[in-house]
């Protein structure tokens, strides 16, 4: 379809989806490349030990290059003609219903493709160094490739079933990677927990798909979105809530947030890629992708907003109390995704900012995690921040990149997080003052806990164990950190200036809604920065002015609660796990004793009955003769009676 035709068709801002041709016809290759890597590494066995890791990294790099070329090409297309679909083959045709294996490449998925392949590629490079000594390196890279492939499938799919496939695929990769060091029993448990909680979310996904097929007869985006306006509001609300349930599972939002902290059991690059930059943001992608559904249902959006705000605050509070550097970052991730979900829940006013924050967050949080990994690498896998301190000098490059990421996340201008978070808070304020207030409070707490992390790790006196010899990490690890650090600096401004991100996503999520603010934007920005600085100051007074005790102090009730993630695990354990265990135990008992007992009981009854009947068989011929005569009497009696 040529540009002129598109311009003609797209009058009124309507978006045109065309058949993918040329470079866009290679969309399948984006997925195939890492999938090939996974297949070769996982099926190839020990033979691929040598070249495997590098091979995998190269493939992801190639995918990134391909994505880049497609991106450049897409920029060259008119704004309304940037969506392309490609159908590879029909997957499951049944009657009128059919599911295609098809891809949709549009500005939204393009953004994700770049994020996933770029950060993914960097994490691969980083892992070359980080995992250099692990005997199972090959498997690790295989899983990473599997993850990249699944994630790309998730964001490129053109229908919900295929999204589901990718959705489960990333869940599997996450399971495998969290449990990569499953020789430690609790790591294996963490992996299982993540998978199962994700599956709880998947209930939402499955049900949403069922509801879509029942209502629209299809799960293709185009079909669902065109039909959604005619559907009843109840159905739309239901689909929205179900998708939200799916999103909460994958994105570790309340109430399915509990797995993310434990997921830090996985190797740190995994935490950076999967549990910070990409997979956990899939929920945001899902909501933004389904914008026509959420646009039509205020109820669903309200639920999304509530989940976002609650998680935002929950994660922030939890983050203040964690001494494990990775868990603190995980809580931060949860909180930041809360921001994104909040933004997505604001509807057309926030979709673009949700994605905006998602992209910047992908960079700076990945950077932070890689930094944390670098610290751990230098500190013999010590994760307790109370055992760090003053690492600034020992690992300067790590410190600089980490610090940049830190400035970005707390939203100091002109770092990336400033722009994206600021816009979200603005949009929230415009929607509802209380929402805005909560978001600003979250920003303050973010500043506090991130400052705490930085101060405890890099500043203050050294509290290392005696046998620790902190050292800077190898080049393969620092280069990705530097690149991500640069991204954390510039990405915000690049995307913000000239509303680039908003305009880029407009074909998919619609134009940004103008919102009126009671107070001028500049004042809001000032307030946010002020609150942030207060947070930093409090952290300074608590963790830099005073020495940090190596043993964690008891703390207030609130601290203790936050340390325990507000008793989420205890809650889950006592409400779901224990009763579940009792239930299964009872059912096993029930099955063995009652159901099978009934069967065996009737067998015993028959056996017992025949044992009793057996007594009639005395073995005496004459008693048999007697019963014969009795039988004869009976028969003759009946005959006589019948003949009467």
């Amino acid at each position: 379809m040529n540009a002129a035709a598109i311009a003609q068709l797209s009058e009124g801002g309507e978006q045109v989806i065309s058949e993918a041709t040329g470079i866009f016809g290679l969309t399948w290759l984006l997925i195939a490349l890492p999938l090939l890597g996974a297949a070769v590494l996982l099926l190839g066995g020990r033979r691929t030990n040598g070249f495997g890791p590098l091979f995998a990294t190269t493939l992801v790099g190639l995918a990134f290059l391909l994505g880049m070329v497609q991106f450049v090409q897409m920029v060259g297309e008119p704004a309304a003609g940037r969506s392309f679909v490609q159908s590879l083959f029909t997957w499951a045709p049944i009657g009128d219903f059919s599911v295609d294996v098809g891809f949709q490449l549009d500005p939204l998925s393009m953004a994700f493709v770049l994020l996933v392949t770029f950060v993914g590629g960097l994490v691969h490079v980083y892992s070359l160094g980080y995992m250099a000594d692990d005997p199972d390196r090959r498997r690790f890279f295989g899983y990473l490739n599997l993850f990249v492939a699944s994630m790309l499938l998730l964001v490129l799919a053109s229908n919900y079933v295929l999204v589901y496939v990718g959705w489960e695929g990333v869940g599997l990769a996450s399971y495998l990677l969290i449990g990569f060091w499953n020789a430690k029993a609790e790591y294996a448990t963490a992996a299982k927990k993540a998978f199962v909680m994700n599956r709880v979310g998947d209930i939402g996904m499955s049900l949403a798909i069922m509801l879509m097929v029942t209502t629209f007869g299809t799960t293709a985006f185009s079909g669902v979105f065109s039909g959604v306006e005619e559907a009843s509001s109840g159905v739309v609300l239901a689909i929205g809530l179900l998708l939200l349930l799916a999103a909460t599972g994958k994105s570790a939002q309340l109430p399915l947030q509990a797995w993310l902290g434990d997921a830090m059991a996985g190797p740190t690059p995994v935490s950076a890629l999967i549990h910070a930059a990409t997979m956990v943001t899939a929920g945001v992608y899902l909501i933004v992708r389904s914008n026509p559904i959420f646009d039509l249902s205020d109820g669903a959006r309200l639920a999304v907003v509530l989940v976002g705000v609650l998680t935002l605050l929950f994660g922030a509070f939890v983050g203040t109390a964690k001494d494990d550097i990775k868990k603190a970052l995980a809580a931060s991730t949860m909180s930041q995704i809360g921001y994104m979900i909040l933004a997505a829940g604001l509807g057309p006013a926030g979709y673009a900012f949700a994605i905006f924050h998602l992209l910047t967050h992908g960079f700076f949080k990945a950077g932070l995690f890689l930094g944390a990994g670098s610290v751990m690498h230098g500190m013999d896998d010590e994760v307790n921040m109370r055992r760090y301190g003053g690492l600034r000098k020992a690992m300067p490059l790590t410190f600089i990149t980490f610090f940049v990421g830190y400035l970005a996340i707390i939203g100091i201008p002109p770092f990336a997080g400033f722009f994206s978070k600021d816009k979200i808070i603005e949009a929230a304020l415009a929607d509802n003052v209380w929402l805005g207030a909560a978001a600003i409070l979250g920003a303050g707490i973010t500043a506090f806990y991130m400052s705490r992390v930085v101060f405890m790790t890099f500043f203050g006196e050294r509290r290392w164990a005696d046998d620790a010899h902190p050292h800077e990490s190898p080049r393969s690890m620092t280069i990705p950190m530097v690149l991500l650090g640069i991204g954390s600096v510039v990405l915000g401004y690049v995307l913000y200036s000239g509303s680039r991100i908003v305009l880029w996503l407009e074909p998919v999520v619609g134009p940004e809604e103008e919102h009126e603010l009671a107070i001028p934007v500049l004042a809001i920005t000032a307030i946010i920065i002020a609150v942030t600085l207060v947070g930093v100051a409090v952290a300074y007074s608590m963790y830099l002015r005073k020495p940090v005790p190596v043993q964690a102090p008891l703390g207030t009730v609130l601290t203790r609660a936050a340390r325990q993630d507000f008793y989420q695990d205890a809650f889950n354990e006592s409400v779901f796990m224990r009763p579940g265990q009792y239930l299964t135990r009872f059912l096993v008992f029930f099955d063995n004793r009652v159901v099978d007992g009934f069967v065996n009981g009737s067998a015993a009854l028959i056996g017992g009955g025949s044992a009793r009947l057996r007594r009639w068989q005395t073995g005496f011929v004459r008693s048999y003769a007697l019963s014969m005569l009795a039988g004869a009497v009976l028969v003759v009696g009946i005959l006589v009676l019948v003949r009467l």
Partner: protein
């Protein structure tokens, strides 16, 4: 006299034979009682032949006799065998026909 009286007589003899089988324990007597029952049925057959005016009843009675003879031969052989091993002609002694 009514020829049906033969049938009544046959019935009575048959019942006596049956009771004998149930009551007596000496295998040989039991056998005699069985013979008595067979004879009673023979009497009935002959009476039927007469009542119906054809010879078939008598032929059946004849066959019954032959079968009875065969049965007696085998039955007595069994009794002798049992007697040889168990030294008893009582039908209550071989009561192993049970689990």
């Amino acid at each position: 006299m009514n020829p049906e009286n033969y049938l009544y007589l046959a019935s009575i003899l048959f019942v006596i034979g049956a009771v004998g089988v149930l009551v007596r324990r000496n295998a040989i007597v039991v056998f005699m009682c069985i013979e008595l029952m067979l004879n009673a049925s023979n009497l009935a057959f002959v009476a039927f032949a007469r009542l119906n005016g054809n010879i078939d009843g008598q032929v059946v009675a004849f066959f019954v006799m032959v079968v009875a003879a065969a049965e007696v031969v085998i039955g007595l052989a069994v009794i002798v065998t049992i007697f040889r091993t168990r030294r008893s002609a009582s039908v209550d002694d071989p009561n192993l026909l049970k689990l």
